[in-house]
């Protein structure tokens, strides 16, 4: 009887919790799940002039994956965001390490300084780089007025490198926080133990600190890699035609071209590619972490 009552209570507790969450869940179902299902459906349809042909077809995927131009865009997007992820995480790690291990009293100030850019306008941060790298921009005019160059450098803007630099800057704040959190969680006595057992600073870092902070590194990498692959603003503003990414071509299908099914298929294919790469990466990192231990 008592057990039955307890079970009933627990079940009703769960039910009360679910009831409290249900508005949020309904909104997420309506604004996230349903649209994504429709996106998937659309990718199996086709555009016939102004009309939508809802017969099941794989034609959009054949075009998405078959056309050399699209394939090149996929590969470039993945390459750019992989590079951005590696650079951002490598740059962020020492910074997060500094705040976690070397700052005592002013930790809060440092954390605020590192999170302000996280919340402020992404568009403006990208726009700043257009101003900096432009033909008549900050770098060129600065170097020219210093007399270091005679003509503006043309290789600064409108290429994949500009996209990588801009993305690495714009996404920097996203890498620091997860790494910082995992470093902060490390039990300091483990580090002392390693030191007592004769590990030098470098060895201790690679055997204790780094493996224990890997969850943060993995989280940072995923949180940067996944959205940057689909970035639209940066390649549009600083990429030029050689720095275009997959999101630019998806946008065109939904805007000027008006071929929504193809745009949907391109989006689905890029999400699948990103998903597979992320899964492989996370598995590989976990395996590596195991081996170090």
């Amino acid at each position: 009887m008592a057990a039955k009552l307890a079970r009933f209570y627990r079940r009703s507790e769960g039910a009360r919790g679910l009831a409290l969450m249900s508005p949020t869940m309904l909104v997420m179902l309506a604004a996230l799940a349903a649209p994504l299902v429709l996106l998937a459906l659309y990718s199996f349809w086709s555009q016939n002039g102004y009309a939508l042909d809802t017969h099941f077809t794989l034609a959009q995927y054949q075009v998405s994956l078959g056309r050399a131009g699209y394939r090149a865009l996929f590969l470039r997007s993945l390459a750019i965001s992989s590079l951005v992820t590696v650079i951002t995480v490598l740059l962020a790690y020492p910074m997060a390490y500094f705040v976690a291990f070397r700052v005592d009293k002013s930790k809060f100030v440092w954390l605020i300084l590192l999170t302000i850019p996280f919340w402020t306008s992404y568009l403006l941060r990208v726009f700043a780089w257009k101003v900096i790298l432009g033909y008549n921009g900050v770098i060129n005019s600065g170097l020219m007025s210093l007399g270091l160059i005679r003509q503006p450098l043309e290789f600064l803007l409108y290429n994949p490198t500009a996209v990588v630099v801009t993305l690495a800057h714009a996404w920097a704040p996203f890498a620091i926080l997860p790494i910082y959190v995992s470093l902060e969680k490390i039990d300091r006595s483990l580090l002392e133990a390693a030191a007592d057992l004769g590990d030098g600073a470098v060895r201790r870092f690679f055997r204790v600190t780094l493996p224990l902070s890997l969850p943060g590194v993995i989280a940072a990498a995923v949180v940067i890699f996944v959205p940057t692959t689909g970035d639209y603003v940066t390649p549009s503003l600083v990429g030029g035609s050689n720095g275009m990414m997959i999101a630019n071509i998806i946008e065109v299908q939904f805007d000027k071209v008006g071929n929504w099914p193809l745009g949907a298929a391109l989006a689905m294919a890029s999400m699948a590619a990103v998903g597979i790469m992320t899964l492989l990466f996370v598995t590989a990192m976990r395996a590596a972490a195991e081996r170090i231990r």
Binding site: P35, L38, L91, P94, I112, Y122, L124, A128, G137, H169
Partner: protein
């Protein structure tokens, strides 16, 4: 534990400072050139002026977009904070079956590129035959702001002393009054912090709004449309600088509130 060498310490500090410079310097060119007396965004600086700010404030299209952004941001902040509060309360107060999975589900928008969220909402509205308007932008922004609201409010409500609310119930208050008089005041710093942060995220968001706004423009959409005209860039710089300063102030205030809330709770728990 062996202390790191002095040189290692200094090196890391130097790195941290240059990292901050990397984070902030590029953005500081916006306010710098917004005060420069030249249509060209280039060195050498030619003189001080506030004319770009005057030009920006005289632009009706800008003011209209600003009004739209304030509207969308306010509605988004209220909606996503209420939804976030319900979820955070449910997850911290009750043992919800599958709670962890539901939390992952609500954080999915952080891991899906904005362009995908934008086009799939566009498809949904199109199939449902709903017009594009500021309302659809609010829906899209609420979607991406709910994960932030939940995160901020969960950290505030976690470790929250349930016995306080139970005591209030035992003393005869109903569930609603207990929430209103006990939970709400304790969660207030988190709620304000969530309102401010979700407002800023919505206020600054471009791509989803770009797909869903129809004929209306939010401020980032307006900025985007101005970038094509070189002679309008100085005024855009002025606008950008103003937005950066305003959102920085809001973020600092929100983060200060959040951390102060956490501090006072710690003291309270230690004191008790």
């Amino acid at each position: 534990m062996r202390r790191p060498g002095r040189r290692g310490r200094a090196g890391l500090l130097a790195y941290a400072i240059s990292y901050l410079a990397f984070l902030y310097l590029p953005v500081l060119f916006l306010p710098l050139f917004s005060l420069n007396d030249s249509v060209f965004i280039a060195f050498p600086l030619s003189g001080f002026t506030t004319q770009w700010y005057a030009q920006m404030l005289a632009d009706d299209a800008m003011l209209h977009a600003l009004g739209n952004s304030l509207e969308v941001g306010t509605a988004t902040a209220l909606l996503s904070t209420v939804l976030g509060l319900l979820t955070a309360k449910a997850l911290t107060q009750f043992r919800v079956p599958g709670g962890a999975a539901l939390l992952v589900f609500t954080s999915l928008p952080l891991f899906i590129p904005d362009i995908v969220l934008g086009i799939s909402l566009l498809i949904l509205l199109n199939i449902a035959n709903l017009p594009l308007s500021l309302l659809s932008v609010i829906a899209g922004h609420t979607l991406i702001c709910v994960p932030f609201a939940i995160t901020v409010l969960l950290s505030r409500l976690e470790g929250f002393d349930r016995s306080l609310e139970e005591a209030s119930r035992d003393l005869g208050e109903d569930a609603w009054m207990s929430f209103w008089r006990v939970t709400f005041p304790l969660a207030l710093p988190g709620i304000v912090s969530s309102l401010l942060l979700t407002f800023i995220v919505s206020f600054d968001e471009f791509l989803i709004a770009y797909f869903l706004a129809g004929n209306e423009a939010t401020l980032p959409i307006y900025i985007w449309s101005q970038l094509r005209f070189p002679y309008k860039l100085p005024a855009v710089l002025a606008l950008g600088a103003a937005i950066l300063v305003a959102s920085t102030l809001l973020v600092v205030f929100a983060e200060w509130l959040r951390s102060r809330g956490l501090e006072s709770r710690k003291q309270f728990m230690v004191g008790a």
